[in-house]
Symmetry: C2
Subunit: 216 residues, 2 copies
Amino acid sequence: MTAPERLSKRNVIRQENERLILSAAEKVFAEAGFGGATMQLIADMAGLPKANLHYYFATKEELYRKVVQNIFEIWLHAADVFDNAPGPVEGIGAYIDAKMEISRRHPEGSKVWASEVMHGAPVIQDYLETTLRDWTTGRSQVIQKWIDEGKMDRIDPEHLLYMLWATTQHYADFGHQIETLNGGRRLSEKQWKAAKDSVKQIILRGIGATDGLQGR
Amino acid sequence: MTAPERLSKRNVIRQENERLILSAAEKVFAEAGFGGATMQLIADMAGLPKANLHYYFATKEELYRKVVQNIFEIWLHAADVFDNAPGPVEGIGAYIDAKMEISRRHPEGSKVWASEVMHGAPVIQDYLETTLRDWTTGRSQVIQKWIDEGKMDRIDPEHLLYMLWATTQHYADFGHQIETLNGGRRLSEKQWKAAKDSVKQIILRGIGATDGLQGR
DNA sequence: GTCTATATTTCGATAGAC
DNA sequence: GTCTATCGAAATATAGAC
């Protein structure tokens, strides 16, 4: 985006502190929501005085906006696997794997995004109308192509995408509920694999694209 | 639950005002989250002075708790269709229909629940550990029975339930995103039907339980 | 049961010394 | 760039007249 900046000592300090603050903010926003989060809590978690947050991010909203943008960028890159795939088994399968892995590694970001959208997307509405809209149109065309080539059933591409988002993000957004139902324990390595396999099996078979996956 | 109260004038007024406040609170909590909601906003939406809210509900948290309990009860009743069904096509199909209809009619409640769980269920953790846990165990056994009877594929019942919750609630919780991608328009009658059919088709076929649904 | 006025707390943001 | 002290706004909750 911006031109690479000189690695002056001041810039290094700025970069490190911004990363520290953003990481703490993501956690606090995820746990308390935008309204419930306080600059004091974020400062405490980052180990900085509250005033320093306002030095790096003028307002609470500006800080929040950066956090939301972060998870969105991560998701966008996860869709790269989609494009050059020869068919739905590879493309959608890999997309599910990638999204599930993000739910596992970045549950906070997913929650912040969910909260933002649930409240009417007050700060990232423009992203929904531009970037996400274009992204969705593009992927729908890929899916439609697979349908036309007979590689999967005739399914509404948009509703399929919603199902992919819903099921994968559920493991992040509702992670606490899942953990509680799992006896209060986080999902083990084996359970995460079972989750991924269940999602892939049901959806891939559900859209009639199980060539080579039978019996797994 | 409680014994039926005498229909004194005072009780009638109380009942009506509580309903009015709860309805306004559900909307405000859904739009702003617990932290972002204010008693003033809820009072304005209910058309009452702020002090009256505190007369009926001592604290903001008590009011919020009632709202969360409401949607939970609605969902519990939606699962009645599950139990006496002869197999997954009828049982899960009817459950999807019921949950989708709730997402359409009560999107606010769904959002409040999602927000509550995302933030670690601070006020309804006990429900997760008791009622929801028992409910999940019971339905998992029903699903397992269907598997043993050869009426559907061998799928992990819990992950299947998660997928049902995720996909149906997504249409409420992410309704704003879906509307935006739909050109800023709410889903039409026809689009809601298409959504239901897509979900049912993919999941029922995905679990190998499509007897009599082929080609629909 | 209703409603105005207000007590009390907390939060976002800033001033200003270092 | 850091940090203490503090301002001003806004929120929850209550007091007390009606």
